[in-house]
Symmetry: C2
Subunit: 341 residues, 2 copies
């Protein structure tokens, strides 16, 4: 797999993107990287490491998108940005996948415009892997679409199922619809309509799942609109941080602070490892014609490396072709159901 | 204050409701309680305690609403339920406030039907107090209205401000709109419109607040629709439970389990106390003409007692009158603005 990386995207870029790319080509066989961005700065980073003979090339881009650039304006004004050039590289057939830890709104808008959506997909969705009590689960959409129609949620369910099957290796993933009551008729107008669509599909739908149950591991895929998904993700991040700070304070306040703190520290380290986002590396924008992986702005080199791994699995297992096949099967299946009526 | 309590509502009722009522009348001066429900069962509970001379009376209701009863059906079929009789008692002027730990959908529907809404309030909202890193904050709506219009969120902001001012004693509460980006123009269709309405009001609006920031204490009141609010509340409950279970497991797995566990236990106990819902007792249904407090189904006697305290403050401080005045001021204020145009 040849991957085009937006080398300038992310809070610590290009240091982390270059380092992650080097780790990836060393670790993953058959992976080659095109680093897109300010050639001189990328060369400077590469010169710090031993990269002789590694399948890494540079493609210059004169502009960089900032984290607070508005998507549409940035797309119009910065035609030679590292994001745009990386996406164009994929479009031109010179790379198989794209990765960016930069402004996700710009990455998304550019990917949709340049690479286009899969047939049957009205809206692409950002899928993220979340840590759970028993195992991980996929949450989507976490922010690509803030105002959704029922058919969008239905499509997210199909894409999420394929993702869980091939990336998390779950044979028959259980799909839940995030709602405010377990009963079929509970929810808002959007989820109640989406419920019917998903129930009528071929997927292993376990019905509504409530907020308190998503971390218990009942569902392998949790489907919601991008507004609710983003708030779920962010509230979880914020609360985890708050709880850890509160507990740390309790430890410090306790009389036997040093001793207790020691044990706590070790327990907390293990916990943190289990829930470390960098292990999953990136969130794919599902529904685009090519693998498009978006990484957290705070991505470390390790997170970049793992995001490249995810892109590689996408490419190797032809996950986007599988998603298209799934949709075609859904269409022919519902056509048969209609014909029988 | 005379409060009508749905004695049969809650997982451990009537034991907890009766015990909470006894604690409340002992602790809060001027509070009298009407326990509504199965007279014999309530008498049995009262007979276990020394209640001689306490201002507690019983009002019989022959039916009990179950937790899984559908609101409209239960309202139609169970005309002599403890919820209905308690609400009717307030309507008849025999009590000043109502409290129930029972089926919240039925409580809400009955209160709206029998007691009615305040003028200017299109939809009542459930407000809940959440623990934060620095201080507590109010989250509303957490489930009364799953499909909202911008004007509803604006009204929630007004009601939430009054609640924070008089119940949490915050002089000039900061109001945030739960959204998926801090910038004014970020959000979904609903929040973008609501943003403009709230910005044009007199309240201390700090703009959008993201999910990760609500526990940091930036806002004293976090406004959202009932679907998003309920998911925020439930995801938080689920995640807090999951983190505590994961950390406990790490402690047990660690070599020096016993010693470390001891310190952890004490730290966790303090943390739990700080975040104990029973301290706040109940969530008011704001926007009804009389104080209506809904408690958690798992309410302990302490939670019931604290919910009675909240109802008492509502009554003593005439919070519902203040909310009406706030709305009237908003109306005359915007009329002046319009006249100037």
């Amino acid at each position: 797999m040849r991957i085009a990386i937006d080398a300038m995207g992310g809070d610590y870029a290009p240091a982390t993107t270059v380092e992650g790319a080097i780790e990836a080509v060393n670790e993953f066989k058959g992976v080659s990287v095109i680093l897109v961005g300010d050639e001189q700065r990328i060369r400077d980073e590469l010169s710090k490491k031993n990269v002789r003979g590694l399948p890494i090339t540079i493609k210059h881009a004169s502009e960089t998108v900032e984290m607070d650039d508005a998507p549409l304006a940035a797309m119009r004004r910065k035609k030679d940005s590292s994001i745009r050039v990386a996406v164009d590289t994929v479009k031109a057939g010179e790379a198989d996948a794209i990765l960016s830890a930069g402004n996700s709104g710009v990455v998304m808008a550019t990917a949709i415009l340049v690479l286009g959506k899969l047939p049957c997909v009205e809206r692409p969705a950002i899928a993220t892997v979340m840590p759970g009590l028993k195992h991980h689960f996929v949450l989507l959409d976490v922010g690509a679409n803030v105002d959704c129609k029922p058919s969008h949620l239905y499509q997210f369910a199909i894409m999420g199922e394929t993702y869980a099957k091939y990336i998390l290796n779950i044979e028959r993933p259980k799909i839940g619809l995030l709602s405010i009551g377990e009963e079929d008729a509970k929810g808002n107008e959007l989820t109640k309509e989406a419920f019917k669509l998903i129930k009528n599909s071929h997927i292993n739908f376990i019905g509504n799942i409530e907020g308190q149950d998503i971390y218990e591991g009942e569902a392998d895929v949790v489907v919601c609109d991008g507004f609710v998904g983003n708030i779920t993700l962010k509230v979880s991040e914020g609360l985890a941080k708050t709880i850890s700070m509160m507990l740390k304070k309790e430890i410090i306040d306790s009389a036997a602070a040093k001793l207790g703190g020691l044990f706590f520290k070790s327990a907390f380290k293990n916990f943190k490892q289990k829930t470390d986002y960098s292990e999953y590396g990136g969130a794919p924008l599902l529904g685009i014609t090519k693998p498009c992986i978006m990484s957290h702005g705070r991505s470390s080199a390790k997170a970049i490396k793992n995001a490249i791994r995810v892109a590689n699995v996408f490419h190797q297992k032809k996950i986007l072709d599988i998603i298209s096949t799934e949709f075609n099967q859904e269409i022919s299946r519902s056509a048969k159901v209609d014909a029988k009526k």
